[in-house]
């Protein structure tokens, strides 16, 4: 059976979900170093949907595409450990400062260069920005339909993909011709764990820059086993208008960043003793806040 060519768009993000006290510096700015860099959670839901297509349609391939700094190669390895076939790290200083529109431009140009895709799957949004914009913007730039808020890719037949969407107040099932972009919600099934055999196979997978930095003894590995080389693309590898990239290519500008400095409004501080709790409840009942 002929499989499908699947691209998964993923992002390495700082884990902003459980920001502890050490994540904020004394001056109120964010201490990025204290936040671990992780595979954006909804992108893992997206990868799982891709892996299920591969399960059901042998011969399908999954290419994981990420844009970011050199260390974002970590999430490509993570994807390989879970069943992706190869990856592309799109990395260039020219991308620095990109807003969602400039990001989607770079990704769309990469996909045009790469070609050969039936389904592009991404997480609905990344936890560092929560914008949910890049997926639909990539679809628009490629001139293909988008299905957002997906919970399950239910079927693929006769060139059409059936997708169940989970919306705020219900569900929709839609059918869409390929190629298309699907963005996946966190309500979709979690991604399967790493596979021990794949970890063995791909643990030395590296980008060219990583190989050069590592300067290790097994450089021969990469000529013997081409699948260990993670593609590393810069603006040189894709056709771009430099004015559309980075800060210059971003219509939105950050005018101001305010650190959140809290000033106490002078709360009544009480203990959890029976007396204090009774006193609090009495007050609330007396001033008709409750009751």
């Amino acid at each position: 059976m002929k499989g499908y060519k699947i691209i998964v768009l993923a992002k390495q993000v700082p884990d902003t979900r459980n920001v502890g006290k050490d994540a904020m510096k004394a001056d109120g700015t964010v201490n990025r170093a204290a936040l671990p860099a992780i595979f954006n959670p909804e992108d893992l839901n997206a990868l799982e949907q891709a892996l299920r297509i591969k399960d059901n349609f042998p011969g399908s391939t999954i290419t994981l595409l990420t844009m970011g700094p050199g260390r974002a190669a970590e999430i490509i390895r993570e994807g390989l450990f879970r069943g992706a076939d190869d990856g592309i790290l799109l990395t260039d200083r020219a991308f620095a400062g990109s807003d969602t529109l400039a990001t989607s431009y770079a990704i769309a140009q990469t996909l045009k260069k790469h070609g050969n895709y039936d389904i592009i799957i991404a997480g609905r949004q990344a936890i560092d920005g929560d914008t949910a914009q890049v997926g639909p913007q990539v679809a628009e730039k490629l001139g293909i339909p988008q299905i957002t808020y997906a919970e399950e890719i239910q079927a693929i037949e006769k060139g059409k993909v059936t997708v169940k969407r989970r919306l705020e107040r219900g569900v929709e099932v839609v059918k869409c011709p390929m190629p298309l972009v699907v963005t996946v919600n966190s309500s979709a099934p979690d991604c399967r764990a790493r596979n021990a055999k794949l970890i063995m196979k791909y643990k030395h997978a590296k980008t060219i820059s990583e190989m050069q930095e590592a300067n290790d003894d097994y450089l021969h590995l990469y000529s013997d086993r081409p699948y260990l080389t993670i593609k590393e693309w810069t603006v040189q590898n894709i056709e771009v208008d430099m004015n559309e990239l980075g800060l210059t290519g971003s219509p939105t500008k950050v005018k101001k960043i305010e650190n959140v400095v809290l000033q106490s409004k002078g709360a009544k501080v009480i203990t959890s003793s029976d007396e204090d709790m009774d006193q609090l409840m009495r007050e609330l009942i007396e001033n008709h806040t409750i009751g």
């Binding site: 902003t16 989607s104 914008t131 949910a132 997926g135 639909p136 705020e168 929709e172 099932v173 005018k255």
Partner: protein
């Protein structure tokens, strides 16, 4: 002068709440800029819908009515909005940060190469000086939103591209009728000129949309839990307290992400914004993202094991201690001392 536009979301033939809120905000922005407020409604059987739109101070309503346009589908709605915006050149365009607006907005912004800011919590008109280019921009839309997981507040501007687009969650802006007799004009669009057959390639197979069963937005008392509640089981205590007080249960994003409770109860920038008379925050640290959705509550009680939790700074009462110990005491006292 270029107008302010609001995309009207239609649910079951009715104008969505978030669209009414955005028309209210849009009217205020248009008045400040001394321009018209225009709206675009796309759907089917929209006769009479203007009665629910003009009172918010809408000067021009653009209507695209066709049976293929309802329910909402990305491509045809996108084609109509993009083409209309190319003709009308709005300076500002507002959409709900709903599953419709967050699907449509980015596609439209990409087609028009305009900037879009998601989930704004405040929209203000202001100037901007670009010192490098030695240029002053007057009357830009400041799009203000928490960012980076809610640890900072960013003010975003789109100096050069138009329209300046923003999405806003339901409940963030207040809805207010300007004048029940406000007179606007209707511009009926010829749908065939704005769409092509290619826009209708996505088929709707099934659709079940329910009215939200959880009414945290309208609740007078909210007992909300965060990551510190610790488990799904511990949330039962919150439900018990909410029930005896006649309130609803809400949650922070961390609690929802941890699977303690359903997403429909999430309060904050990416959930619902609430303004109850009493908000009891249980085990919620109080990141700005959460506070953005509840800080206008009339009274706030914060229960947290951490005496330094950020939530404490906006609370009226701070109780340092364990939720599992404190809530039963509150329930017990209330049951014993009220009828």
């Amino acid at each position: 002068m270029n107008s302010v536009f609001v995309y009207i979301e239609i649910e079951d033939g009715q104008v969505a709440e978030v669209s009414m809120e955005l028309m209210t905000k849009g009217r205020a922005l248009a008045t400040e800029l001394k321009v018209k407020l225009e709206a675009i409604a796309i759907g089917h059987q929209l006769d009479g819908i203007e009665k629910d739109i003009f009172p918010y101070g809408v000067d021009v309503l653009h209507l695209a009515d066709d049976k293929r346009l309802a329910p909402y589908s990305t491509l045809p709605h996108n084609s109509i909005v993009v083409k209309l915006f190319q003709e009308e050149k709005p300076q500002i365009a507002l959409m709900g940060a709903s599953s419709v607006g967050r699907d449509l907005g980015p596609r439209v912004s990409s087609a028009l190469h305009s900037g879009l800011t998601a989930d704004c919590t405040s929209l203000v008109i202001g100037d901007h000086e670009d010192k490098k280019a030695d240029k002053v921009y007057e009357n830009l839309l400041y799009q203000i939103r928490p960012a980076f997981g809610g640890n900072i507040i960013a003010t975003i501007i789109n100096p050069d591209c138009r329209p300046q687009m923003a999405t806003v969650r339901e409940g963030v802006m207040k809805k207010e009728i300007l004048d029940a007799k406000y007179k606007g004009t209707i511009n009926k669009l010829d749908v065939s000129k704005y769409t092509s057959d290619l826009d209708f390639v996505v088929e709707m197979i099934e659709r079940h949309i329910e009215k939200s069963k959880i009414n945290i937005k309208g609740a007078g008392i909210i007992v909300a839990g965060g990551y510190g509640v610790g488990s799904k089981e511990n949330f039962n205590l919150l439900f018990e307290l909410a029930e005896v007080l006649g309130g609803e249960v809400g949650a922070s994003r961390a609690a929802v992400d941890s699977g303690y409770i359903e997403h429909g109860r999430q309060i904050g920038q990416t959930g619902t914004t609430v303004r109850p008379k009493l908000y009891i925050a249980c085990g919620i640290s109080g990141q700005i993202q959460h506070r953005a959705g509840m800080e206008e509550s009339a009274q706030i009680i914060a229960i947290n094991t951490d005496p330094e939790a950020p939530i404490n700074s906006i609370a009226d009462y701070v109780i340092t201690g364990d939720v599992a110990e404190i809530l039963p005491k509150m329930i017990k006292y209330y049951k014993a001392n009220t009828k």
